[in-house]
């Protein structure tokens, strides 16, 4: 007789049990979701029993979350604890091949585990791993982190950062920058021809500009190398992979450069179609459309980065060029280039990790300033053709759905009332708009807070967790001195605890069912995060 013992990593007493901090939730992989969607009322695992002879054993794993019977939860109730909570590790947690502030990280991980967080997010930088020369990868520091996370009994969502960071300064790989010195057209350029060295221009995705390889090939090699280096973690500790899609990892053009000073009204941003290759694509497109003259450059009457949208006529609320046939021509092209770029990267990730039990994520920015105007300049310059008259996030959601990827939306801590009035900004409306598009296409949404922070941010995050804008997980950015500071950390503890203790006055929350008492629920919930294996 054999009894297999499967135990979780946490060897110590399971604190979650007593605390009730644990978050329980529903986490199915792509594969399972598909199964379920076909057969909603019966879980259909392959039968290992009947295939015993073939030697193939198929294990399907299901996790459970809703304690409530399906029938009862059919009302649109939602528990906060369905949202898996992650915290981001410091951006520069690894430099060179070593882990920075090892002790702090390890203490932090333990604290987060005890708090009942699902896991942490780890940014892995192209410029750190493939720093020296093409194809030479150094994963050592990141492997250390993965091991630490595994030991702490946490999950890991890695972000593959194919971009640079300005604070802390983490540039692109040296060899890429070297190439960029002579071929500045591998970077996005603004109207002044100033290159953006924070990531490669999407126009070179499939041009062999990197020592004979295309950036897509280089990204793919990177992903493959990551996959083999972390094979022991992928699917177990590593449950999510976020594919970097552009500046700050987001699917967008670098239409705003540098940081807006707080308290100043952000500008409209600038179109970034001025690198040679983008211009070439534009020209081709214009010629194909029979409008060769439209392909000579970007809109001449668009304002510059920090100028107000009203500084020129392109974004004018009424009669602006954006509404003209030319505007439609340009904006359609500009946004479709971005979506095609996202599609390329996400389908690359999906195919590389197709046999791995991980979720693939991509991040879409929340360009919420000027959302109150008709033309939404910030969104347009960032590459989202979303205006008062055109729903632009449909194509984005479709693209994510097509690749079975989940979407990360930042800025969940931003509320309308703290925005500068002059910027006609509405993070909440925009979020709802994107959320609707995603829900329509079945794209699950993971949230993030903005790095700049916001007043009453935690409150706003919770509000979003209760809405349909957020239904997968939440990644809190980020661990560091400020995070653990006495003025912040207790608030965070409280935030996490409250997630498991729905406020009684909130009508949107489920009522406790049946005989379960408060104490019971504490006990049973912790159990819910344990996944059952059946085969």
């Amino acid at each position: 007789m054999e009894v297999s013992v499967i135990r979780s990593c946490s060897q110590a007493t399971n604190p979650k049990t007593e605390l009730g901090f644990s978050d329980s939730r529903f986490s199915f992989g792509k594969f399972n979701e598909k199964l379920f969607s076909r057969k909603p009322n019966s879980v259909s695992f392959e039968s290992p029993l009947r295939r015993g002879k073939s030697g193939l054993r198929i294990t399907a794993q299901a996790a459970q979350s809703d304690r409530l019977p399906k029938s009862k939860s059919s009302t649109k109730s939602k528990t906060l604890n369905r949202i898996r909570l992650f915290a981001g590790l410091p951006l520069d947690v690894v430099s060179g091949g070593t882990v920075n502030q090892f002790r702090a990280i390890s203490a932090g991980l333990k604290a987060l585990k005890l708090l009942g967080l699902e896991g942490v997010e780890l940014p892995i930088w192209w410029g750190v791993v493939e720093h020296e020369s093409m194809g030479k990868y150094n994963w050592s520091g990141y492997l250390t982190i993965a091991e630490m996370v595994r030991k702490a009994g946490l999950k890991l969502n890695v972000t593959l950062c194919f971009h640079a960071s300005s604070q802390p300064k983490i540039p692109l790989p040296e060899w890429v920058l070297d190439i960029g010195k002579t071929k500045s057209n591998i970077f996005f350029k603004d109207r002044a021809g100033k290159p953006y060295r924070g990531c490669l221009s999407l126009a070179v995705d499939e041009l062999a500009v990197l020592n004979g390889k295309t950036p897509m090939e280089v990204y793919q090699d990177f992903c493959e190398s990551f996959k083999s280096a972390f094979s022991a973690f992928i699917g177990s500790t590593i449950t999510g992979i976020t594919m970097g899609l552009g500046p700050d990892g987001e699917l967008r053009y670098p239409s705003h450069r540098g940081f807006a000073k707080s308290g100043t009204v952000p500008g409209a941003g600038e179109f970034q179609c001025y690198d040679k290759n983008m211009l070439h694509l534009l020209k081709q497109h214009a010629e194909a459309c029979g409008k060769p003259k439209w392909g000579l450059g970007g809109p001449h009457n668009a304002p510059a980065y920090s100028e107000l949208p009203t500084a020129n006529t392109f974004f004018k609320d009424h009669g602006g060029s954006w509404e003209s046939p030319y505007g439609d021509f340009f904006l359609s092209w500009y946004s479709s280039q971005l979506i095609a770029h996202g599609d390329r990267l996400l389908s690359l990730a999906s195919s590389v990790f197709s046999d791995s039990a991980v979720n693939i994520f991509g991040k879409v920015p929340l360009m919420h300033s000027w959302h109150g105007t008709r033309s939404h300049p910030s969104e347009l310059t960032a590459g989202f053709y979303n205006t008062a008259t055109r729903k632009g996030y449909k194509e984005v959601a479709e693209m994510f759905a097509r690749n079975s990827c989940k979407i990360i939306l930042p800025g969940m801590d931003q509320s309308d009332k703290y925005q500068l009035k002059e910027s006609l900004s509405s993070p909440e409306l925009l979020l709802a708009e994107i959320g609707t598009a995603c829900n329509k296409h079945g794209v699950r949404i993971s949230g993030q807070n903005s790095t700049v922070g916001a007043p009453d941010g935690l409150k706003q995050i919770k509000k979003n967790m209760l809405s349909e804008n957020l239904n997968d997980s939440f990644i809190f950015q980020r661990i560091g001195a400020q995070f653990f500071a006495p003025e912040h950390f207790p608030l965070f503890i409280e935030f996490v605890r409250k997630l498991n203790q729905p406020e009684p006055h909130s009508g949107n929350l489920p009522t406790k069912e049946g005989t379960t008492t408060a104490t019971d629920s504490v006990h049973t919930r912790s159990n819910l995060s344990i996944h059952m294996q059946s085969a």
Binding site: V3, S4, V5, R7, S8, Q11, A12, T13, P15, T17, E18, L19, F28, N41, S42, V43, S47, G52, R57, I58, T59, Q64, D66, P69, R103, A104, A107, G108, A111, L114, G153, P168, K169, A192, K194, G235, S236, K261, A304, S306, D355, A357, G480, A481, F484, A485, P486, F489, I493, T516, T519, T524, N527, S529, I530, H531, M532, Q533, S534, A535
Partner: protein
């Protein structure tokens, strides 16, 4: 019996089929005793224990002995405690027990009952489901509601979970009873066992347990009671743990009816229990003794061997110390010593006598053949040297204490903020206590993380380029390029003479680039009435005295190849006509831009234009173009865009921009979107009785006005600075280099980012010499403009002269110190014969024959360059 452990398998959120397979291959045998040791766990098991934040690197805070939960060591009461440390040790012990499965008929004979029991303590949960007859897949279904034992909760739609209950309070035995109707279509009950305390789950041979309720099924391997055996059931469940009831007879019934038979089976089950132990190390010294005594004690049960050595350096190289050794010590392979600890009442201990001069004591504990206890993957390290130092240096001790007090302060702060949370819920005291201890733990960890993060959080200076973007009124734009541009004027008045200037310059491309220039200005490219190119005729004809259009393209390509941006010299103010009008005046244009006299300004009688009045000064040698005409502007924009596209120019040098309004320039630049643009706004400085005025504000104001009119899209040559330098250098009036507000007196003092500083060009110098820079003082001029803010421009003649290497050195100094167009200049001296300034606190410069040395300050200046009447220093720190 093979017991397998799979770390983290259970937390895998989605195991799709290929994955599961893979993971199962990762099964690794569990060592019989798995040991782990980390400081924080100790907190959980014994909160009263006093120990400091241990550090994996082996440095420990020194904590004076205080009440600990270790056994007091009376023998040392007279000795000083130099060091004491308690290491928590977490071991995983295996506890064996039994899983009992019983199927029998309930008393009413109608229903049947499946009882699953477990003899081990723990919070057991039965996770279970059913399958129906005729189901083809292996999936579970949720049991019908009437089967649910009390307290069950549904798991989605395919399973439920039922907690085990104790039949009586004192029992360690737990069970779940499931009643069901045998006539239902249920084919089998499937379950796995979970221990809520540890998160472990228990399966049967890697699959779920399966109790078949019909017996005509094939044996799938994981069926319990596979042989259809039946047994008599004891009525009293309480007796189960002690009973081993095996089916006495097994009849391989192949009946195909649904006759259920009761059975009872036991399965061994092994649970891993985390046990908290500790290792306490104390170092004491008797007064007047040469040796120190290290006391090691642990509460780990059983025989414990200390595998130990000492070290004399930071490298922690093990070596065997001199005798004496404690009893029961053996030498292990000449590398280490092994000492069996002597049992005490609740553990074991040993005393080690060590030489005071040693650096450290290293050890690991060996529990049996395969089980070792180490400290977070490293050897335990006890610093003997710090024990030594404590004795003499009470200062360091109090420092440590205050550090600890600080951490405590943070913890208290956090505690105060979270306190009150607990009172919200009326939870059982026990739960409350557990919560309290975990909160406590979280707070400690957070405080530790905070103190480290805070001490090592670097401050990031805001980047200059970012600051650019944030400037509200100024675009980052063609007015400045990157801000770090250094311009080379790539021709002189004679360059057209050879007819192959483009080819000649191409030869020099890499040389110019290697000097450190970023931008090069090429001569006017169009067909021109004058060979120098400033009297353009057909704008689209780019065959000129400098070379053909193809040679030009080739040159631009080469220049780009060496990383230079290329400025085209465009003459927009005037244009020479192809044809005469009816009055014989040349004002009708040909070529692609075949404008008529409407394109010519109306206020220049020489050319009888029909256009509007000029928006600027007139250049009298050729028809001045009326930029107020839409078609003119449209054509010029188209031309500029064509030049950008066709030739690859990156930007413009705009000739004679005094001739038309700067606002039109803005239009041209907005449309052609150059990387960099600079305009020539050259008019006379103010003189009084032939002597240049000190105050040239009016002059620079006119230039600034023009830049303003372009909305800052272009820079302008800083003619003011050149003029003032003339006087200052020629007449030894270096005081002129300071304006009334303490700034540089040229455009560079007012709008440095738009000032293109220069000392000579093709007009002022070269073979024309309209306004030549004082001879022999050129290098002072370059020392000034190449160290100061603004965008400096170097004239071609100078880089092919003997000044070349000095200029190159200044350029590389500028680049090295990242001086840019907005660098901050602080003028420290402006006297009759000497001018001195520091720039960005990184570079100091003096020009003039007078004496100046930068003060010895924190920058530690070192002389970088020196030439005739100038010196440049760099800060070396």
């Amino acid at each position: 019996m093979a017991t397998l452990a799979v770390g983290s398998l259970l937390q895998n959120p989605r195991l799709s089929s290929p994955r599961g397979q893979k993971l199962l291959l990762n099964l690794k045998p569990l060592r019989s005793l798995d040991l782990d040791c980390s400081p924080h766990r100790k907190l959980l098991c014994s909160r009263g224990a006093c120990f400091s934040n241990s550090n994996p690197c082996g440095k420990f805070y020194i904590v004076k002995a205080s009440s600990t939960d270790t056994a007091p060591i009376d023998t040392f009461s007279s000795a000083d405690i130099l060091y004491e440390q308690t290491f928590p040790v977490n071991r995983i012990e295996k506890v064996e027990g039994k899983l009992l499965i019983r199927l029998d008929q309930s008393k009413d004979q109608l229903n049947w009952r499946l009882t699953i029991g477990c003899s081990l303590s723990g919070k057991w949960i039965l996770h279970w489901g059913v399958s129906y007859v005729g189901d083809t897949g292996s999936e579970w279904d949720q049991p019908p509601q009437d089967m649910w034992p009390h307290g069950s909760i549904p798991i989605k739609d395919y399973a439920i979970e039922t907690p085990f209950k104790k039949p009586s309070k004192d029992d360690t035995f737990h069970e779940v009873k499931i009643d069901f109707n045998p006539s239902s279509a249920i084919e089998a009950i499937h379950f796995i066992l979970k221990d809520e305390e540890t998160g472990a789950s228990y399966q049967h041979k890697g699959r779920d347990f399966r109790v078949s309720l019909v017996n005509y099924l094939e044996d799938d391997g994981n069926m319990i009671h596979a042989k259809s055996s039946f047994g008599k059931w004891p009525d009293a469940v309480e007796q189960l743990p002690n009973m081993v009831l095996k089916a006495e007879a097994s009849c391989d019934s192949k009946n195909e009816n649904r006759r259920l038979e009761g059975f009872y089976e036991e399965q061994p089950i092994v649970k891993e229990v985390s046990v908290g132990n500790m290792v306490n190390v104390a170092i004491r010294k008797f007064p007047d003794a040469a040796n120190i005594v290290l006391h090691l004690e642990t509460d780990i049960p059983g025989d414990v061997v200390v595998h130990w050595g000492v070290c004399r350096d930071d490298a922690k190289t093990w070596e065997i110390p001199a005798v004496p050794y404690p009893p029961e010590t053996t030498v292990f392979r000449n590398k280490a010593l092994r000492t069996l600890l002597q049992p005490t009442g609740n553990g074991s201990r040993a005393l080690f006598t060590l030489d005071e001069k040693l650096d450290g004591f290293l050890f690991v504990l060996k529990l049996d053949a395969n089980s070792w206890v180490n400290f977070q993957g490293n050897d335990f390290y006890i610093p003997l040297s710090s024990a030594r130092s404590v004795k003499g240096q009470s200062d360091s001790e109090s420092e440590e204490t205050s550090g600890k007090a600080h951490t405590d302060g943070i913890i208290n702060e956090i505690r105060n903020l979270v306190s009150g949370l607990n009172s919200e819920k009326s939870l059982q005291t026990k739960v409350k206590e557990a919560k309290e201890s975990i909160l406590n733990e979280i707070e400690k960890l957070a405080a530790e993380a905070y103190s480290i993060f805070r001490s090592s959080t670097p401050s990031y200076p805001e980047e200059d380029s970012d600051a650019d973007d944030a400037e509200p009124t100024i675009n980052i734009s063609s007015g400045t390029g990157s801000g770090f541009e250094i311009l080379c004027q790539g021709f002189n008045w004679e360059s057209n003479k050879s007819g192959r200037w483009y080819m000649e310059l191409k030869e020099k491309a890499s040389e110019i680039s290697s000097l450190g220039f970023t931008v090069i200005w090429l001569p006017p490219p169009t067909e021109s009435v004058s060979s120098e190119g400033y009297m353009p005729k057909d704008l689209y004809n780019l065959n000129s005295r400098y070379g053909t259009i193809d040679e030009l393209k080739d040159l631009v390509k080469s220049l780009h190849g060496v990383g230079l941006k290329v400025l085209g010299d465009v003459v927009l103010n005037h244009r020479c006509a192809h044809y005469q009008n009816q009055n014989g005046v040349w004002n009708i244009f040909g070529g692609r831009l075949n404008w008529d006299d409407r394109a010519v300004v109306g206020d220049d009688p020489h050319f009888q234009g029909r256009g509007n009045k000029s928006s600027g000064d007139n250049f009298h040698a050729a028809p001045n173009i009326d930029h107020s005409q839409d078609f003119v502007r449209k054509d010029l924009i188209e031309w500029l865009c064509w030049l950008r596209e066709e030739i690859g120019y990156d930007g413009w040098r705009l000739d004679f921009v005094r001739g038309f309004w700067g606002g039109y320039v803005k239009d041209y630049l907005d449309a052609s979107e150059p990387y960099f643009a600079v305009g020539e706004y050259w008019d006379s400085l103010s003189y009084t009785y032939g002597e240049m005025d000190h105050n040239q504000d009016a002059h620079r104001q006119r230039i600034v006005d023009w830049i303003n009119a372009t909305n800052g899209t272009a820079g302008a040559f800083d003619v003011t600075s050149k003029g003032i330098l003339h006087s200052a250098l020629e007449r030894r009036e270096y005081w002129r280099l300071l304006d009334q507000k303490g700034k540089p007196p040229g455009v560079v003092g007012w709008w440095p980012s738009r000032a293109v500083t220069f000392i000579e060009n093709h007009d002022t110098g070269s073979t024309q010499g309209h306004w030549r820079f004082p001879g022999g003082k050129e290098m002072q001029g370059y020392a000034y403009i190449l160290t100061h803010p603004g965008t400096p421009a170097v004239f071609y003649d100078h880089i092919v002269s003997h000044h070349r290497s000095e200029i190159g050195a200044l350029i590389s100094l500028r680049n090295r110190n990242k001086i840019h167009c907005r660098s901050i200049v602080e003028i420290v001296k402006a006297e009759r014969d000497v001018y001195a300034a520091t720039i960005d606190d990184r570079v100091a410069v003096k020009i003039g024959p007078g004496y100046y040395e930068p003060p010895s300050g924190p920058q530690r200046w070192s002389l970088a360059l020196e030439g005739y009447d100038y010196k440049v220093w760099e800060a070396s720190s």
